[in-house]
């Protein structure tokens, strides 16, 4: 059997995991691309984000802010730890994708504690390789999203359009596929939710038919006395809905300008399976557009979470608190995307400040490694060995020139100095920043 080119395996792991690690390229080059993909698709998430139900709102505004900031740090660290330690990297990539897709901006010091974020994550993680309709159904009564988009105060007789609009525009259809009337009618269909405190102190978003506007509504051309779940189905049944998700998946996993034929195929697949994610993802990664089209190689910029988690996994680090801070330094606030549209991918990560931050984090990680190395990593500063550890299969001449210059100038220095320098430069290289 002909071995799969290592570059193909590196490509798959960059997109469907957090990068290939030491040995991955060799193992799966032998076993083949399909075996690698099936291993990734069969991963079962093994971790959970932990939050607290401690009510943040207390009398003193200052302590509220501090408590909120602490809860945020804790829950960010918890998420980063799950990603670094996971044995189901594709499932975790999907959690990250879904958290961006259903962007929920948590305000520390808000009346809901970080427990609500943990609950949303648990829903996304449970269904990360499951069913998209189930995710949407669950999110209708999700405390974090419901409060963020004001569906907890979307009242009978005086609807609040926030959730209805963003669901049509961002989550399910896309701009231009609905009218302002659809927004207003869908907002009516989403009335009836109320935030209730449970005996254990946590919050629950409860739907109460008596608080719901049960009059007839016309949404996307269909008329009925739709409940929230029925109205959700009306939107999901629109042919654009499956195309929209397909387009988002392909833009995220294949390339920013999603090839339209692949989008159509994946959309049809989602319709045919009733929104099952595994077959859709298998189709994405098995496609010629993903595997064979040079335009899809190195076409993306790793998000800060992908970059930091990838480096942590490659170096087998456990400094999760530092790592969570680094994700922030690189420009991505987990649980605090800039707005309901989520993070700005690719070029959005290339600000001057963020790129120097990538260098600086590379330098810190390299120092941690030489001070206290984890087992099973290359000893010394052999560039090829470290490329393998970082899932890099080729170096551009400029990067090679930079490394050569460094090693020439530092020849004869202590091995730890040179090792630290090589790790820093490889992690700071454009090769490691693209996927």
């Amino acid at each position: 059997m002909v071995a799969t080119p290592r570059g193909d395996i590196a490509h798959l792991f960059n997109r469907a995991a957090f990068g290939a690690r030491s040995g991955d390229l060799h193992t799966y080059s032998e076993a083949g691309f399909e075996a690698a993909l099936e291993d990734l698709l069969s991963g079962v998430p093994n971790g959970a984000v932990v939050g607290t139900s401690a009510p943040v709102a207390v009398a003193m505004p200052m302590s509220t802010m501090e408590e909120g900031a602490k809860q945020l740090r804790d829950v960010q660290k918890s998420w980063v730890k799950v990603m670094v330690k996971t044995q189901a990297p594709l499932a975790e990539r999907m959690v990250l994708f879904l958290a961006d897709h259903f962007s929920t901006v948590w305000a520390p010091g808000d009346h809901i504690g970080s427990e609500a974020l943990a609950a949303q994550q648990s829903l996304l993680r449970r269904q990360a390789l499951g069913n998209f309709r189930s995710i949407c159904q669950g999110l209708l009564s999700d405390v974090a999203l419901g409060c963020f988009l004001d569906n907890d105060v979307n009242l009978l007789g005086a609807p609040n359009e926030n959730l209805a609009r963003e669901l049509l525009e961002l989550f399910l259809l896309g701009h231009g596929w609905y009218t302002e009337t659809d927004v207003r009618e869908l907002a009516r269909a989403f009335t009836g939710y109320e935030l209730r405190r449970q005996s254990n102190g946590s919050w629950k978003l409860v739907w109460d038919v008596r608080r719901h506007d049960d009059g007839p509504k016309t949404i996307l051309g269909r008329t009925g006395r739709f409940t929230p779940l029925e109205a959700l189905d009306v939107v999901l049944d629109h042919p654009q809905a499956s195309r929209h998700l397909a387009s988002c998946l392909v833009a995220h996993f294949v390339r920013p300008d999603p090839p339209s034929d692949l989008v159509e195929d994946v959309g049809a697949n989602l319709r045919a399976t009733g929104w099952e994610l595994i077959p859709a993802l298998r189709m994405v990664f098995m496609s010629q557009q993903f595997r064979a089209d040079p335009a899809s190689r190195q076409a993306l910029v790793k998000s800060p979470a992908e970059w930091v988690v990838g480096a942590m996994r490659a170096l087998k680090r456990t400094e999760f608190g530092s790592a969570a801070g680094w994700v922030q330094d690189l420009g991505q606030s987990l649980f605090r995307p800039p707005n309901v549209g989520g993070w700005t991918p690719n070029e959005g990560w290339l600000s001057a400040g963020a790129l120097i931050a990538r260098y600086n984090v590379a330098s810190r990680l390299a120092a941690m490694h030489v001070n206290r190395p984890s087992k099973g990593l290359p000893a010394g500063f052999d560039v090829a060995a470290w490329m393998d550890a970082f899932g890099i299969t080729d170096l551009t001449p400029a990067t090679r020139a930079g490394l050569d210059h460094y090693l020439t100038r530092m020849a004869g220095r202590h091995v730890n100095t040179q090792t630290s320098g090589v790790i820093t430069l490889l992690l700071a290289s454009p090769e490691f920043s693209v996927a």
């Binding site: 525009e169 959005g348 790129l355 320098g421």
Partner: protein, 396 residues
């Protein structure tokens, strides 16, 4: 590394290559010709859709309390500016600017076609291109068009994690940082510090902004590396993080050629319980403007500085059932500063003639931009905006 050793290192390393990389690595700017632009512009974008009606309040209009029974402001919560109008009570600094004749209020401004999406409306404000004939930002196009006047390595700065679209163009991109200290290496003291930084510079040396993504990354790295030294110098006097507005003022005064700054304040999407949250955000805006001018004054660049306050849209006039307001259309922009000719511009919102509950847009964003470009930045607005638009006499 000093200039001489840097030059020697680059020449040594690059001598073997045929492409004169050295030339490309030499910044056009040098410390001998500090950049001192004639005008500075700070754009503050109020993200989420600022309620223009509760920013500059039609306090004299009897329809206002009727349509805003819960979110409306009472007479004792506002700062009158005459003509039946008043500023939100949080805007005490701006009220002083009004008194000094340095605050222009522009009403009913926005994208002429109603679009209640945050993202689509924001894009129109950023690109000044309702039909999307431009994908770049209007200020990015200004920077491109005036590139020959460029005197300095940092003509524009965005504060935040992501480069503002408004500043994106075809030339050397604006510098985007959360704070100036982002642009400092953490490993200066190491025995191999210089060697690493040289290598990092080389590794990024051949970047080009177009082409494959890996080259775009390299180009962005190169741009970042280029400004590490000048930005560090500009930041040298700060012992604490100065905050966004002060940072922009410091760059305006740093002699790096910085003309444009961009800052976002989020939290204006007040669908629910608007009253407290909106006042808090406007107080943040007010103190941001005050901090900016205090620092600009200290550095003697305040007399050439103007602040432009924008938001993607105004909010629905009738409030919703959750003590908030949904997305609207026409909004209110502000222009502030010593060069500004204070006053109220545009048509005041007619609460008796709303369209779907929204204030209609009676002034195209491009008229506002044309005024800023021509009167403040001394630029030819027509090629930048892709057409000719009437202007307002906003600057003296």
């Amino acid at each position: 590394m000093n200039d001489l050793s840097r030059r020697r290192f680059l020449q040594g390393v690059l001598a073997a290559t045929t492409v004169p990389l050295w030339a490309r690595l030499t910044p056009a700017w040098s410390a001998d010709s500090p950049g001192r632009p004639d005008a500075h512009l700070l754009v503050i974008f109020l993200a989420g859709g600022n309620d223009g009606l509760n920013t500059v309040v039609p306090i004299g209009d009897p329809a206002y309390p009727r349509m805003r029974p819960k979110t409306g402001l009472r007479a004792d919560e506002v700062l009158p500016i005459g003509g039946g109008l008043a500023l939100h009570g949080s805007l005490t600094g701006l009220r002083s600017r009004w008194g000094a004749g340095e605050l222009a209020v522009i009403q009913g401004v926005g994208p002429t076609v109603a679009d209640l999406s945050h993202f689509s409306a924001t894009e129109t404000w950023e690109t000044a291109s309702p039909t999307r004939e431009f994908r770049t930002g209007w200020l990015g196009r200004y920077l491109d068009a005036s590139a020959d006047r460029s005197r300095g390595p940092v003509r524009a700065v965005g504060i935040g994690p992501v480069m503002p679209r408004m500043l994106s163009g075809g030339g050397d991109p604006a510098i985007t940082v959360r704070s100036l200290s982002d642009l400092q290496y953490v490993d200066h003291g190491r025995v191999d510090g210089d060697a690493r930084h040289e290598a990092f510079e080389l590794l990024a040396a051949s970047g080009r902004a177009e082409g494959p993504m890996i080259e775009q990354v390299r180009a962005a790295q190169r741009r970042a590396i280029e400004v590490v030294a000048p930005i560090s110098a500009a930041n040298a006097g700060n012992t604490n993080e100065p905050g966004a507005a002060k940072t922009v003022a410091q760059l305006f005064g740093a002699g790096l050629g910085t003309e444009i700054g961009f800052v976002t304040i989020s939290g204006f999407d007040t669908h629910a319980v608007q009253r407290g949250a909106h006042g808090y955000r406007l107080a943040e805006l007010d103190s941001m403007i005050a901090n900016f001018f205090a620092e600009a004054r200290r550095l003697a660049v305040d007399d050439r500085s103007a602040v432009l306050v924008l938001s993607e849209f105004g909010r629905r006039v009738p409030e919703n059932g959750s003590d908030g307001t949904d997305h609207g259309h026409g909004g209110t922009a502000l222009v502030v500063g010593p060069p500004v000719r204070g006053g109220v511009y545009g048509n005041p919102p007619d609460l008796g003639a709303l369209v779907d509950g929204n204030v209609p847009v009676t002034m195209d964003v491009r008229s506002l931009y044309a005024s800023v470009l021509e009167q403040h930045l001394a630029a030819d607005a027509e090629p930048i905006l892709g057409g000719s638009f009437s202007t307002l006499p906003l600057f003296s």
